[in-house]
């Protein structure tokens, strides 16, 4: 397995708060990572740092062996795609237009979307089960539908590495599972990688194989999900007592 993203001694701080210190992370293709932690612990800030949207205090980040801060934005966008926590639509267009923005890094300045780009966008819309919404205005969508459009836009970008900031935000239970299920299947088939910020520990256990736990004191823990996620680490992570139930070898965590 090749190393897609690697950090060396990465320290990230924001407004005097330490988010992580000396983080050594190796993200290999085919893996799927969950980032877990309390509100305000800095999960999003770390994810944005990994996407080269902000610079770290110290340490390096390498994307496919190259210093990510020396790559141009377009080169990064062809490899790494980010799903933001929230969406902003100052001058909203149609669903199709919004999904097609994902093709931007693959096109030059004078180019218009080709039939192939449109086919990719249609496929992405089918993935999130919104094919019939292509010509609708973004403004007519519900929160969950808008979220699925954003995911379609990211799929349209066809990155090797997906950075997902709370991908299940606004999604109902059915779509939480359908989309994460389809996504992990696609990642497996195409040997792609995802790092996702999650609030639901059980979803993380089900769809991710690795986890990064960010504790409130600035320390962290890295490892396979079933090794680092247990009721003790979770109780410390969320500063709330947790207990676990077992059913057919599957461990489920609930607040105690």
């Amino acid at each position: 397995m090749s190393i897609l993203l690697e950090t060396h001694q990465l320290s990230v701080t924001i407004a005097d708060k330490t988010i992580c210190q000396k983080l050594d992370l190796q993200i290999k293709s085919g893996q799927s990572w969950a980032i877990l932690g309390m509100n305000g612990v800095g999960k999003t800030t770390l994810l944005h740092t990994l996407a080269a949207l902000r610079t770290p205090q110290s340490g390096t980040i390498e994307l496919l062996g190259k210093n990510i801060f020396q790559l141009n934005k377009r080169a990064i966008a062809k490899i790494l795609g980010l799903l933001l926590q929230d969406h902003e639509d100052a001058f909203p267009g149609s669903v199709m237009q919004t999904v097609l923005t994902g093709r931007h890094p693959h096109m030059n300045n004078w180019q218009w979307e080709s039939a192939q780009d449109i086919a990719i966008a249609k496929q992405a819309l089918a993935f999130v089960e919104l094919e019939e919404f292509a010509e609708r205005s973004i403004l007519t969508l519900s929160g969950g539908e808008r979220r699925r459009v954003a995911l379609a836009s990211l799929l349209c970008q066809q990155p090797k590495l997906f950075l997902l900031d709370e991908p299940t935000n606004h999604l109902d239970l059915r779509y939480q599972h359908r989309l994460l299920d389809n996504l992990s299947t696609q990642l497996r088939q195409q040997n792609k990688t995802a790092i996702m910020i999650m609030h639901d520990v059980n979803l993380a256990m089900r769809y991710c194989n690795h986890a990064l736990l960010l504790f409130n004191d600035g320390s962290h823990q890295i490892g396979f999900c079933n090794e680092v996620i247990n009721k003790e680490s979770l109780s410390r992570l969320y500063d709330y007592p947790m207990r676990s139930l077992k059913e057919n070898d599957t461990e489920i965590f609930i607040p105690g």
Partner: protein, 327 residues
């Protein structure tokens, strides 16, 4: 580009041509179509043909250029500031230009000096806003917008001061300048060059602008160097506005409303919106100016008055018809 977009651009091009012809035909002296057409190729022009070539044509072209510049600048600034209320004057550029122009009028200078002075005022204002908003490194739309609005308010106070201390005989031309008047157009060539330059710069960045409207982070994560893009858009929009106000004073309304009119017709893609705004803004201003010089002839009205009289009902009608959710 789909067929809807092509038909929009085609219709707007035809509208522009038709308004140009109307502008050449309308006026206090009746000139036949035959004479108008022949004025373009005869060497020995009679008085009427000279009137067409030397007065009506430059004025109509000036109106088109000023309208195109303002509409393009408005569309660019709305995306840059991610604010539907932005117009070419929101960042105080016209205020700086007005102070320059009014000072020139006050000392009794002629047309060319007024234009030059207006341009210098606009340029100073642009540098001031850019420098102050950019000062600490972070450059959010809100910060830029607030800096511009405050500076515009400052210019407004200076303008009022100049108006109060000015003698009565200069007041009228000052007011005309402030309301926007194409009687000041000196030469259409520089404006035309700036307009073409603006179009050529904005077309290749138009797709990036679509994404910039989705926010800074989203744009960066899709591979756009947002800092560079925003500086380009700011400088370009400032230059377009400065050129327009230098040519014709502060013609209001076109820059705010034309981009929205096109969005309300369902075209929010900047690759179509920006060229369409030039054609729409240009033809709107040709029509407005034609009315301004004929409606109570021989008395002339400032074109800014007429552009609002045409634009306000048109805008309200489209808004009322239920396309409001697109805004």
């Amino acid at each position: 580009m789909n067929t809807r977009a092509i038909s929009l651009l085609l219709i707007l091009t035809l509208t522009t041509g038709a308004s140009l012809l109307l502008a050449l035909y309308s006026g206090s002296i009746d000139i036949s179509w035959q004479e108008i057409i022949s004025s373009f190729y005869t060497d020995q022009k009679n008085m009427k043909q000279q009137l067409v070539q030397e007065l009506r044509l430059p004025r109509a072209l000036g109106a088109f250029i000023a309208g195109g510049l303002l509409a393009l600048a408005g569309a660019l600034l709305q995306v840059l500031l991610r604010n539907p209320l932005a117009d070419p004057y929101v960042l105080g550029i016209s205020g700086g230009a007005a102070v320059g122009a009014l000072l020139a009028i006050l000392v009794g200078a002629g047309g060319l000096v007024i234009s030059g002075s207006a341009f210098i005022g606009a340029f100073c204002s642009m540098l001031l806003v850019f420098g102050i908003a950019h000062g600490q490194g972070s450059w959010t739309p809100t910060r830029l917008l607030l800096t511009g609005i405050i500076l515009a308010a400052g210019w407004g106070a200076v303008i009022n001061f100049i108006l109060v201390i000015s003698p009565d005989q200069t007041l009228r031309s000052m007011l005309f300048w402030l309301m926007g008047d194409l009687g000041y157009v000196q030469s259409t060539t520089p404006g035309f060059i700036v307009l073409i330059f603006g179009l050529l710069i904005s077309l290749p960045i138009a797709r990036s602008l679509n994404i910039l409207a989705q926010g800074e982070l989203q744009a960066t994560s899709l591979g756009i160097e947002t800092r560079r893009l925003r500086i380009i858009v700011y400088l370009l929009a400032s230059m377009l506005t400065a050129t327009a106000v230098t040519m014709a004073g502060s013609i209001g309304f076109v820059g705010l409303v034309v981009p929205h009119l096109i969005r309300m017709m369902g075209f929010s893609d900047n690759r179509i919106l920006l060229p369409a705004a030039i054609l729409f803004g240009g033809s709107l201003l040709i029509l407005a100016d034609t009315l301004a010089r004929t409606v109570i002839a021989p008395q002339q009205l400032p074109v800014g008055v007429i552009s609002a009289v045409i634009g306000v009902p048109l805008f309200l009608f489209l808004l009322y018809r239920g396309q409001i959710q697109r805004l």
